[in-house]
């Protein structure tokens, strides 16, 4: 089972890399936000997988839980930016 988890986490890392593409190259900020949000949910799973690999899940669950919460807060903050500052291209140098 150990190996399964390992392969799963490697695979998950690969998936994260795919999401990261959107985060890094996403044309707009919001695309990046989507990418990062997606990375966040994968990270939560990955943390527990690591816990399983270490055979100490009970220690990693807390981190994952904290993570799930705080990821939400970060995304919320970023989207609040647009709710208050209307424009996506506002005050960008070269419109």
């Amino acid at each position: 089972m150990h190996d399964v988890f390992l392969y799963a986490s490697v695979f998950l890392c690969g998936v994260m890399a795919l999401s990261l593409y959107r985060a890094v190259f996403g044309p707009t900020v919001l695309d990046r936000l989507i990418g990062v949000n997606a990375i966040g949910s994968k990270t939560t799973a990955l943390l527990i997988l690591i816990g399983l690999i270490y055979d100490r899940v009970d220690m990693f669950v807390d981190i994952a839980l904290a993570y799930a919460t705080l990821n939400f807060i970060a995304v919320l903050a970023a989207s609040r930016y647009f709710q208050k500052r209307k424009g996506l291209y506002d005050e960008m140098g070269d419109k």
Binding site: Y54, D55, R56, M59
Partner: protein
């Protein structure tokens, strides 16, 4: 050549930390935008933290929380070799705290600068300073 490769593989964590330090430093020196610089600064700090955590790592050992702690009567003494060394982690907790504190102050200053000059670009600020 092989020794070089094995050397590389045996220490890849350290290479990555060096890379991150370089990225951060580059951002701090070459970027004109103050928030970018702040990000660079944070990257340098995390790179150092990465370095420390790498020091503590031990392959195939478990995390530094004693399993089956003191509840069981007559607990067996923990073997140092079984656990990842905790000291770097302790140090880095402090370092993270420091970095977030620095970040807070730096951002506060960035806001103050923006309030004053209306821009975060260093060259534009320089222009505004020389204007009056």
């Amino acid at each position: 050549m092989e020794s070089l490769l094995s050397n590389f593989l045996a220490k890849y964590n350290y290479w990555v930390y060096i890379g991150l330090v370089m990225i951060g430093m580059y951002a701090m020196i070459a970027k004109r935008n103050l928030v970018k610089k702040i990000i660079g600064m944070n990257i340098v700090q995390t790179a150092v933290i990465l370095f420390y955590v790498s020091i503590g790592a031990k392959k195939g050992k478990t995390i530094p929380i004693i399993a089956h702690g003191h509840e069981e009567t007559g607990h067996h003494a923990a073997q140092a070799i079984d656990y990842i060394s905790p000291l770097p982690h302790v140090l880095m907790l402090t370092a993270i705290v420091v970095s977030v504190a620095t970040l807070g102050v730096a951002l506060a200053l960035a806001i103050k600068i923006y309030r004053q000059y209306g821009t975060l670009e260093e060259d534009e600020i320089a222009l505004r300073i020389n204007e009056p």
